[in-house]
Amino acid sequence: MPFRPSKVILPATREEASESLEALGGGAVIIAGGTMLFRLRDSGLLDHVEALVDLSRLGLSYVRGDAVVAIGSYTPLSDVYRWIASDPRRGRALGALADAIMSMPGWQIRNMATVGGSASIGMPQSDIATSLLALGARARISGPSGERVVDLRDYMAAPLSPSLGSGEFLSELVIEQPIGASAHEKFVVSDIDHPIASASAHLALADDGSVASARIALGGGLRRSVVLESPRALVGRVPDEGVLEEIQGLARDSVDPLDDFVASAEYRRHLAGVMARRAVARAYARAGGSAR
């Protein structure tokens, strides 16, 4: 039996959405932009699906805030990019997310894919998810008993199966205190491929130009995403060549890479280091720092 859901449910309120998800249980899948769902339509993975629960009418397409940035889960990546690009301070602080969006091959995908969908796919290959991890994003989850907020890391439990209870869905991504600067780097064979390796770095600088705090997320062809919180090699220091060399080594040693026909584990491990190094250097330059 191929992918043949018998109905689409378009809830008008979050309560209705939760009720539908609870009532349908495992026979329902949540659809946001639909890019992954329709890509997997003929894969056999979705043949059990009886109903699509569509989040498009819940008013979840928005980006707002200053000290706390809130991005509705149904917001297309193109809208997020335009919001970031419209303000230089956002462009620095949320640069990793803007880089990740522009690394997607073309406006068609950016107009369809949503932030929430990208986070919910839960794969280290997602550039959007990697950038959100570096930005310390949290996931606001709506459910039958109200809302809860969890670290995105915890939400992204496993590929294609985010950590959601019965009747729950992702309603918003929250980025608190987006200060400093961030950048995303990736290595791909061609525009449309998953990255062999990727890294996002978010840095806040002290007055003397040293790194006050940092978060580096590593993605691409890994068994799981890696987040390095304020690594000792970086904090309190200026990322000159020696420090970048240490970051490269740290990233290389932190990943559990895939080994397949696209790239060997050894090659992916090497590139994880190189991407981390480039992301830190670019974020530092974007923050106005100078290591010379």
Partner: protein, 160 residues
Amino acid sequence: MKLRFTLNGSAVELDAEPWESLFDVLRNRLGIKSVKTALCEGSCSACGACTVLLDGRPIYSVMTPAYRADGRSITTLEGLSRGGELHPLQSAFIEAGAVQCGFCTPGMILAAKAYLDGGGGPDEGGIREAIRGNLCRCTGYVKIIEAIRRAAEALGGGKP
């Protein structure tokens, strides 16, 4: 599900199944032959041949559920000419020799239309990014970029 949408300026009403893509409905049920598939087997390879404009924004119709068209406006290449007059992009593609096999052309022109309608101008970087989601295997892109540049200049886009 019953859908009502605007296709190239005309009202359309039809029933679509939840698993049908917008591509399925446009090409197989409404006879819109400018919308094509190419590299979809197993997974989308972002070739852009299925591009249509949904409320003016370029999207891939193979990855869009048909029901998302409900209440919206869809533009395909068939909707660009007016009263027998080609759209400036269509004329520019002919004049610049930007068409070889023609398979990518509808998607290219629609992606370019969204770019120009959004205020995009004749700079090469902007044009390249605008058609990044569309593959051409004949031209090497040089003449396509030239055609879009000519159309941008003809339409006066990108000027403050």
